[in-house]
Symmetry: C3
Subunit: 205 residues, 3 copies
């Protein structure tokens, strides 16, 4: 339990770094960077919890906000060197979305969502923070670009829900499903893979 909690805080911090870095790159002030770190880190999980009609965890547990401030501080202090940490950050992020996906599915199921809604909410948990980040920065969300990100989360969430119907233990299931997200994400970036888009048609208007 303590381990899960620690990973959750770590993942929150990594998301905060990614949000704050996006702001720093655009020359936004330190407050804006903090704000972006915050919404990126809590966006996905909060949306999941709002749809489950429960309170987001950070409203009562201040540690999540502290993790975010640590992440923002790291992004500011090490801003000039963060690009050389880009590979490390990418790995952390890929691990983080795998973890968040599984936690999201588990939490949704434990609050009695349908299995198919749990899949969507698990995917949301891991990817909506980034969507909000990109939308606020006035960019096309990553999720709508030709990169395999949220679809890796979707695959992991489907995997978890399916394995959960088998006698496989919950811990093994969590590990396998989170790993699937990580591996798909890692391979897709490594080999520059992308999903096909639907053949275009002439736009009438």
């Amino acid at each position: 339990m303590d381990f899960i909690y620690f990973i959750d805080l770590l993942g929150t911090m990594v998301f905060a770094i990614s949000g704050a870095m996006a702001a720093n790159r655009k020359g936004i002030d330190v407050f804006g960077a903090t704000f972006m770190g915050f919404v990126t880190a809590i966006g996905g999980g909060s949306l999941r919890d709002v749809f489950l009609n429960i309170r987001p965890v950070w409203v009562e547990d201040g540690n999540y906000l502290i993790a975010i401030f640590v992440g923002v501080t790291i992004s500011i202090l090490f801003n000039k060197r963060l690009d050389s940490f880009a590979r490390t950050l990418f790995l952390f992020d890929a691990i983080g979305i795998g973890f968040f996906t599984v936690v999201g599915v588990q939490k949704s199921l434990s609050y009695e969502s349908s299995a198919i809604a749990a899949v969507m909410l698990g995917m949301f948990s891991a990817s909506m923070g980034g969507v909000i980040r990109d939308t606020l920065m006035n960019e096309t969300p990553l999720i709508l670009r030709k990169e395999i990100y949220a679809s890796a989360c979707l695959a992991g969430a489907v995997c978890y829900v399916l394995l959960q119907m088998t006698p496989i233990s919950e811990n093994i299931n969590a590990f396998v499903s989170a790993s699937m997200v990580f591996i798909i994400r890692f391979l897709s970036v490594r080999y520059n893979l992308s999903l096909p888009s639907v053949p275009m048609v002439e736009k009438e208007e």
Copy 2:
């Protein structure tokens, strides 16, 4: 009841088609199209339910998500021909927003919102999915362009709340109010009508 439920699923599917089509037109991958179909279809109703502090219906009833996947699949399979179905889709959409407006008002009132809040929430139910779709696609939302869309919903919602204070039966009221939305929407597109904007002033800054 079964009829209403069926219409609700059908309307959800139509919204999913419109969201996925918007994505397909921009060459976004199949996952992004699914995502856009999803947020377009559930956005309005979910926002209403979140404000009413209840769970969105799709969290527990998987059929809504299945309706969305069917809608997305249709948009992908028939993408090249969907433009020739544009007129049919427009009619479905106009019927759908009428229906969603009335259902939104009814649900809000049954959860004890004020009458004026029910009007806003009914309008939200029918139009916010499109607002979220356009915002994520980095476009000015339809609701802010010179087209009569959400204002048709607003008119129907006001109509429902007013008629509901008379002895007219709920079913007739629902039919009249939904028809009003449809007719206003249909005529405004047919005759290219729009609301006036407020006379511009010189921008000082």
Copy 3:
């Protein structure tokens, strides 16, 4: 109590004016202006309440929506002259965000959020309406530009939470904290102050 309620309605109206004015300036129709007035006025408080898992106040108390319609009507009737009222509006807005920040912190604490979450939610209450307004208008949110706005709210929220641990009475605390927001906001615009941004780095990608 009546005084607080009156100020709350007044602040809601001022936010509605600012949202509707933003729409009017872009030549958006009267419905769009009403819509923008609405989301700007209720956005921040609603988000706070959704995270606290309670119903936004306007869902049950119709007076808030009436205040919004009054604000929108003012923005339409006096559109040509509103720019000459710009200074007055700025003062109202600066008072409004101070008030909303304090009310947001108080409400969050009374619903048992952590102190640090109350700070974030107080800041959210006062500033997220504007973020939603700017995002829908397809502009970079004010909060991400080089203006001291939400950071003034943050300072006031921190002030309230700290003073609240001292024997100072709640009313004095509220007055001091709201005044701090107002003064920071006022001085920053008067003397064109801004927070530093993090030094830029070469973008690798």
